[in-house]
């Protein structure tokens, strides 16, 4: 029909192309970038962010936004540490119970977020931003500002045990990514998230309980934040208020750069995977070629604007608020 690389096809693959170009670029500047060792390093830094980003992907698919991830991750990390140590501090004993409990904690935080947003009719960005701060404060209250060390070797094995040069947590992250994909494409919840994002009025007019879908979406996101929190703790071996720092910018950047539209309805977890990899490759690549860290944030910020500009058909949008 139209010429081969038409706009639609190009946009669909643009994130992946950008990722490949970035990798070629850094490899050309510093051949050591292209090594299994370095890829493992990228994967480790990307895994917790990927989980958080997958969580927020579901929210953005609905056309909402969630900014509570930093607080949620901190609360989940700190509560995990407390419960884990209280249960004996070892995965071999009763400590394993702390893992599902953390996921429940994440879901509860998401539930609160969703209820505040839906029932009190507060825009999601405001509700979640506020609750994010509440979460950070809560984590601070629980720890009193202390760091909690998690030294259980079985838990740290997530990082220390390697299969085929990659730590176990990468495979766990992969499993949760598949779970996210399954929810997105094979469950009514996933379908409903797309429907609400693609046309809320129509979803309502087709008999969907939109309020329930929204709340479920926030709970789902909360569970993924909890998984992200567990990985963040496993990576450093420390749970503290600051565990959540930096996740907001990274995860939302990743979702947007990956090609999930901010107004909802299109995109998904694979886009987010590519987006997280782009962000992580830039971060890692700049360290490898020896550029200062403060440049990274600037470049990521520019990248977000470029991604949004590319994906928006500005002729069809008359007013932007």
């Amino acid at each position: 029909m139209t010429g081969f690389p038409n706009r639609e096809v190009l946009l669909r693959w643009a994130p992946l192309i950008v990722l490949l170009i970035l990798m070629l670029f850094f490899t050309a500047l510093e051949p050591r970038f292209f090594s299994v060792r370095n890829f493992a390093r990228i994967a480790i830094s990307a895994a917790p962010a990927l989980m958080v980003a997958v969580g927020v992907t579901f929210i953005i698919l609905m056309g909402s936004i969630d900014l509570s991830m930093e607080g949620a991750v901190s609360v989940c990390a700190v509560s995990f540490a407390f419960v884990f140590l209280w249960l004996g501090g070892s995965l071999g004993g009763w400590g394993w119970l702390a893992l599902p409990l953390t996921l429940v904690a994440g879901a509860v935080l998401g539930l609160v977020n969703g209820l505040v947003h839906v029932r009190l009719r507060i825009p999601s960005f405001m509700a979640s931003l506020a609750l994010g701060f509440v979460g950070t404060g809560l984590a601070m209250l629980m720890t009193g500002g202390d760091r909690i060390r998690i030294e259980d070797p079985a838990f740290r094995a997530l990082l220390t045990t390697r299969w085929l040069d990659f730590p176990v947590m990468i495979y766990v992250a992969g499993l949760f990514l598949l779970l996210g994909w399954f929810i997105q494409s094979r469950t009514t919840l996933g379908r409903n998230l797309y429907a609400v994002g693609g046309g809320e009025d129509l979803a309502h007019g087709s008999g969907l309980n939109v309020a329930r879908v929204r709340i479920m979406g926030f709970m789902l996101a909360g569970v993924f934040y909890a998984v992200g929190a567990l990985m963040a703790v496993a990576r450093i071996g420390i749970a503290e208020t600051a565990t959540g720092n930096g996740f907001m910018f990274t995860s939302i950047t990743a979702v947007v750069v990956g090609g999930t539209a901010l107004w909802g309805g299109t995109g998904g977890v694979w886009n987010t995977l590519v987006g997280v990899l782009i962000v992580s490759v830039i971060g890692n690549g700049m360290v490898v070629i020896g550029l200062p860290g403060y440049l990274q944030d600037g470049i990521l910020g520019l990248l977000v604007i470029i991604a949004v500009v590319l994906s928006t058909d500005r002729r069809s949008v008359s007013i932007v608020k």
């Binding site: 094979r186 009514t188 919840l189 379908r191 429907a195 007019g205 087709s206 969907l208 309805g265």
Partner: protein
């Protein structure tokens, strides 16, 4: 003084204005009437500069002009008073009056509010409105806002050399009778300052106010009548005047409905501001069409049956059961399906594919414990693609990329496959080409044969007559007349228009 000669306007697929001649003299009031879609609003938009004519000439005092924007038209003395209130309600009256023209009051970069208030008071005096110009517009009544709009347009008087032409688009639709009379006497007085073009659905008002009336139909001016010769009947006949092709609407397939099975029953239902005291019965196998002008309450009644709007009084019964909890969810469960007017916005979810759209209202049936049976969904979609002849490469096609007719079929398949037997159709053929329209008519007949009841808001009066068993004519939210139309004894277009306007 202001004259259009042989003006043409073409949109993709529609010839909206065909060689329209139109003129207005100094101090004259000219009426403009026509059915929905006859081209009135396009003509107005050409006059006030929102559209540019594709052919013909526009001239003021014999000099050809061409407006690129409403602002340029205003600089030539042409102003528009909009039907939908165009005032910004969170600004004050004076800010609205001088919106975009504040510069005259700026001293050293700061607005001189006292000067603006003084000037605004002067404008308000022209329309005899005695209010504080610093009032926030939201606090005014609709009638007052209408006068503020008029005052706003009249500021052109001071700004523009030469004569004014002011367009009034349905200015009376939200006014009471006394308010209408006040407005009319005001307009008559103002003819010393400006000429007026008056557009309205209310034929009696048009004849009351106008010196001459232009009648439009299908993008053409079919007649121009001076007031002395104007008669309501004759004009209404001109507005419709064409015969229906019985074949086209599949009339031979129209079967009598089942008078014993009432699917939907409204009993003295009212929703203030939208419609009042509406009673109707929709039977199995029946097409009941609501006919009326824009804003007569047709859509609001559909939305009420679907549960999107809760009436203030009266009972809505669906299959004998009185509705208590309003809400789309309950309606869907009771077997009601709604096909709204704007398919792109409300009918299908763009970005979702064919089978996803079809099962949207019935996911419970295609999932176990929240996990979808994609195979069953696709089989359903394939089945309905075949049954309705939906043109799509496969079930994975994004519905946003289908043609309007095929989108319409997907929406109908969604409701029919879910077993809905009360189908609410709002302008189901709007924007479709003739072939696709015929497909929709076939589907309507088939649904009736299956025992479904259809509540229809048709795109044209011909369509309403051709398709329906029963026609309820509405005017200003009230039921005016109920026509029964078995093939052979259908009401004429004129009958309908007569009760509508």
């Amino acid at each position: 003084m202001y004259e259009l000669t042989k003006v043409d306007k073409v949109f993709p697929g529609v010839h909206a204005l065909k060689a329209v001649d139109f003129r207005i003299e100094r101090g004259e009031i000219v009426g403009l009437v026509g059915e929905n879609g006859a081209g009135k609003s396009t003509l107005m938009k050409v006059i006030y500069g929102a559209y540019q004519a594709d052919g013909g000439t526009v001239a003021i005092d014999g000099k050809p002009v061409r407006f690129q924007s409403p602002r340029q038209a205003m600089d030539h003395g042409i102003g528009m008073v909009f039907q939908e209130q165009s005032l910004i309600t969170n600004l004050t009256v004076m800010e609205n009056i001088f919106l975009g023209y504040e510069r005259q009051f700026v001293r050293f970069g700061v607005i001189d509010w006292t000067a603006m208030a003084r000037a605004a008071r002067q404008q308000l005096a022209k329309v005899k409105l005695d209010i504080d110009p610093a009032t926030v517009t939201a606090k005014l009544s609709f009638a007052q806002r209408q006068l503020v709009e008029l005052a706003k347009v009249l500021t052109l008087e001071e700004r523009v050399e030469g004569d004014l032409v002011i367009l009034l688009d349905e200015p009376t639709s939200v006014l009471s009778r006394t308010e209408v009379e006040l407005l009319f006497s005001l307009v008559r007085e103002l003819t010393s300052r400006a000429s007026f073009i008056f557009v309205s659905h209310r034929m009696d008002e048009v004849l009351e106010l106008s010196d001459r009336v232009y009648v439009m139909k299908d993008g053409e001016v079919v007649d121009m009548v001076p007031r002395a010769e104007a008669r309501v009947d004759a004009i209404q006949r001109k507005m419709v005047g064409r015969d229906i092709d019985k074949q086209y609407y599949r009339e031979q397939k129209q079967q009598p409905y089942d008078p014993d099975r009432v699917l939907v029953s409204l009993d003295r239902v009212s929703l203030p501001g939208r419609y009042s005291d509406i009673s109707l019965d929709l039977h199995a196998g029946e097409v009941l069409c609501l006919v009326g002008t824009e804003g007569a309450g047709r859509e609001a009644i559909l939305r009420t049956v679907f549960g999107l709007e809760k009436p203030d009084s009266g009972t809505v019964r669906i299959k004998g059961q009185a509705r208590r909890d309003f809400g789309a969810r309950a309606a869907v469960e009771a077997g009601v399906g709604y096909v709204p007017r704007e398919r792109k916005i409300e009918g299908i979810v763009g970005g979702m594919n064919v089978y996803e759209n079809m099962t949207l209202s019935q996911m419970g049936r295609y999932s176990t414990a929240g996990i979808l049976h994609l195979g069953k969904e696709r089989a359903l979609a394939r089945d309905w693609i075949r049954r309705l002849g939906i043109k799509t490469p496969d079930v994975f096609k994004d519905c946003g990329g289908l043609s309007g007719g095929n989108q319409q079929k997907v929406v109908l398949a969604k409701w029919r496959s879910g077993g809905s037997d009360i189908i609410l159709l709002d302008h189901p053929t709007r924007g479709l080409d003739i072939g696709a329209k015929e497909d929709v008519y076939d589907m309507v007949r088939e649904m009736c044969a299956d025992g479904a009841g259809i509540l229809l808001v048709a795109d044209t009066l011909e369509e309403a007559i051709g398709l329906s068993h029963t026609i309820l004519v509405l005017k200003d939210g009230e039921a005016r007349h109920l026509f029964r139309g078995a093939p052979g004894s259908k009401p004429s277009l004129f009958d309908l228009v007569h009760h509508m306007t």
